[in-house]
Symmetry: C2
Subunit: 420 residues, 2 copies
């Protein structure tokens, strides 16, 4: 079954809003083994919506439409659909009663404008929307299925996952079962990953691999198609473990997990806490770690020591050391990590100092030169990195690398600590 | 002239990449007064690309295509275009020579695969690409113009701005001149802005206004259409100043400026510097300020005092004060601001303490309760805010509000300081 997506809204054709709904739907459909062949976007204009629907049914079997189901006069998808398919628009009493009940529960009378959200093309199958007033609906025509969904991303996502994908999987004659997993890799380039995985034969596992750059991560997505769930899951497990082995501990998280969540879980499991001293990352390490709910359990503090005075004063770094070797140096990074660990009494002290640019580079220490240090019960280590990119990229990859050091510490992947 | 955009790439129809190119092009075209009526996306497949081109020319006058101009065998836009328009694909010797020269300058021989980037439909007008090997091109058909651009966002953006928009403005028979400005508003909701501007009559200035929510900002975009540049610019100036007056100092930046840039400019102009003490924002204030190149000139430090121990130890906040009034309080916020100002010797000390959630709220101080304080040569002020939303939204709006306090301080917009 080939699919066309139609996304509707003036905010899309004017470029005010980026069409993330289309990408979301396309990704979910691809994962389910359904091919999206066209995506059409048009504004809230009846003739254009009708034109899009008619052209779509000439070229695919499944048409999924999002947007234009709201209560305002701009929202004309249902009536345009009825016209394009030559069906009457009829009132669904059950939906109307539910809408009224919904408003009554909120202590309000239903505005008259919402009444139109109870009108659908004749024979439409309703997709209830637990999160909003715009129900989705399905209309069948010979050999074709039209699915209409609200454009609010939160609502669309739930209806796609919970209703549309299961519905299409049932519709599909050829029963194909799809299992997928995204391995998030950090620390190898896309071509390095391809090289490390060159002897992996995904076809031996009825799988395909997709490589998705997601700066600063690179994702390897395993997609398994099969007929028997157990077999597919077994193949997925085996291929994942093979790839993980080849990637030498550089898989930082899977699917929707983030690096910061994994690091938080490790810190929590070890009853450890973390203090950070940041220079060139300017608070980004702290920001990322504290995006996670509950991070106060293990994140003790960060000091963003942008000035040399702050480094000396807050972390006890000898002023003459900075004069002698420079603030961007292994020695200062190590002193920062040890200093923040000491003053905070945390299990781990993590430090970053470097040159994010665009100014401040020298021949010896060009823009992108970054030192990362970790002070721990096992001692202190530091490393110099030659990062590339603009200011934002250098800050991002520096913060990522530093946070990943904590993961690598707990997984015993830091070479200098290995034999301790 | 009506426009259809066609974006090409398997990464788009599979949902691996969100189509930001389409939104970028649509926004630029709208600003220039050109209406985008359809956006079509399809994969790297010859028949589908041809189908998209043929359908587009049935319904609009200008077709802009992006993607598929690279050197690999997936890149088939030029050949598909030639087929759809029934034109030969011919070698452009000048482009070929330039490509070879480009590689030679990099010390390399041109790979044979790049040769195809010198083939274009007969009569195509070349759009040179100073940033890459994929030139754009223009093909005219009776009453229609086809414009082809590379899909690399960086290259597409420059070619759109510098070549395509000026080209289309020349093509347009009815000479309409467009001037626009985006006023970025922070501190008023969209409906509050609409209310404050209800007596503003944009039509008196040959203007239209668009309201664009860009959390946590709300943008008011002024678009002026006219025939005489001076008149349009005069209208823009007058309408902008009228709106600014109505919005009472809540316009934080215009067009591509950011709040952090404006705050940086103000600090620099006043030869002042800033130190920050953050709790619930977890480093986000520091992160945002240090994204700006050169921020080390005025950003002195930030301490992310997540634990109470850090607050006591680094900022000299009396431990019994925290016990008495709680870490989330006006008193502690003020002591944090004064403490970080004192230890850093900075002109301004800014502090944020609050409950970002999802846990940690109480009846008296629910999730979203945030105190912001500013310590300055004029004294110290603080305020309690009742923010709404999830953790990320509360952190974002808290950081924004705090940074905006610095702007308001220098513009003399903080009421408590007004008469000092």
């Amino acid at each position: 079954m080939r699919v066309e997506l139609i996304t509707i809204g003036n905010e899309l054709t004017s470029g005010e809003v980026v069409d993330t709904n289309a990408a979301f739907m396309a990704e979910l459909l691809s994962e389910a083994g359904l091919e999206v062949v066209f995506i059409t976007t048009t504004g809230d204009e009846a003739l254009r919506i009708e034109d899009s629907l008619r052209r779509a049914q000439e070229r695919v079997e499944v048409i999924i439409v999002s947007g234009g189901l709201g209560p305002t006069k701009d929202d004309i998808t249902a009536s345009s659909a009825a016209k394009a398919m030559k069906l009457d628009l009829v009132l669904n009493r059950e939906v109307l009663e539910n809408l009224k009940k919904r408003f009554a529960e909120g202590g309000m009378e239903m505005p008259i404008s919402n009444e139109k959200q109870a009108f659908f093309p004749r024979q439409a199958e309703i997709i209830p929307n637990p999160m909003g007033t715009a129900c989705g609906f399905i209309v069948r025509r010979p050999g074709k299925v039209f699915i209409f969904l609200p454009g609010v991303p939160r609502e669309l996502k739930v209806l796609m996952r919970e209703k549309v994908i299961p519905f299409l999987e049932k519709e599909r004659k050829e029963k194909v079962l799809v299992r997928s997993r995204t391995l998030k890799v950090f620390g190898f380039t896309e071509s390095a990953i391809a090289d490390l995985l060159k002897d992996v034969r995904p076809q031996d596992f009825s799988a395909t691999l997709a490589y998705l750059p997601r700066y600063p991560e690179n994702h390897v997505k395993i997609i398994i198609r099969g007929r028997v769930a157990e077999e597919a899951e077994d193949n997925l497990r085996k291929l994942e473990s093979l790839i993980r082995e080849k990637l030498q501990g550089r898989v930082i998280a899977v699917d929707r997990e983030t690096l910061e969540e994994i690091v938080g879980q490790l810190l929590r499991a070890e009853r450890a806490n973390l203090a950070v001293a940041e220079s060139c990352t300017g608070g980004l390490v702290a920001r990322r770690l504290t995006q996670i709910a509950g991070s106060s359990d293990y994140f003790e503090r960060s000091v963003v020591v942008y000035s040399n005075a702050a480094k000396v004063q807050m972390l006890g770094i000898p002023g003459d050391l900075i004069d002698r070797v420079g603030a961007v140096s292994a020695e200062v990074a190590e002193k920062m990590a040890e200093g923040v660990r000491r003053v905070s009494n945390a299990t781990l002290g993590l430090a970053i100092t470097g040159i994010a640019g665009p100014a401040g580079g020298s021949e010896e220490k060009p823009v992108g030169t970054v030192f990362i240090a970790l002070a721990s019960p096992k001692g202190t280590v530091s490393r110099r990195y030659p990062f590339m990119g603009d200011r934002d990229q250098i800050q991002t990859i520096s913060a990522y690398t530093a946070i990943d050091w904590v993961r690598r510490y707990f997984l015993n992947l830091i070479p200098a600590f290995k034999n301790l």
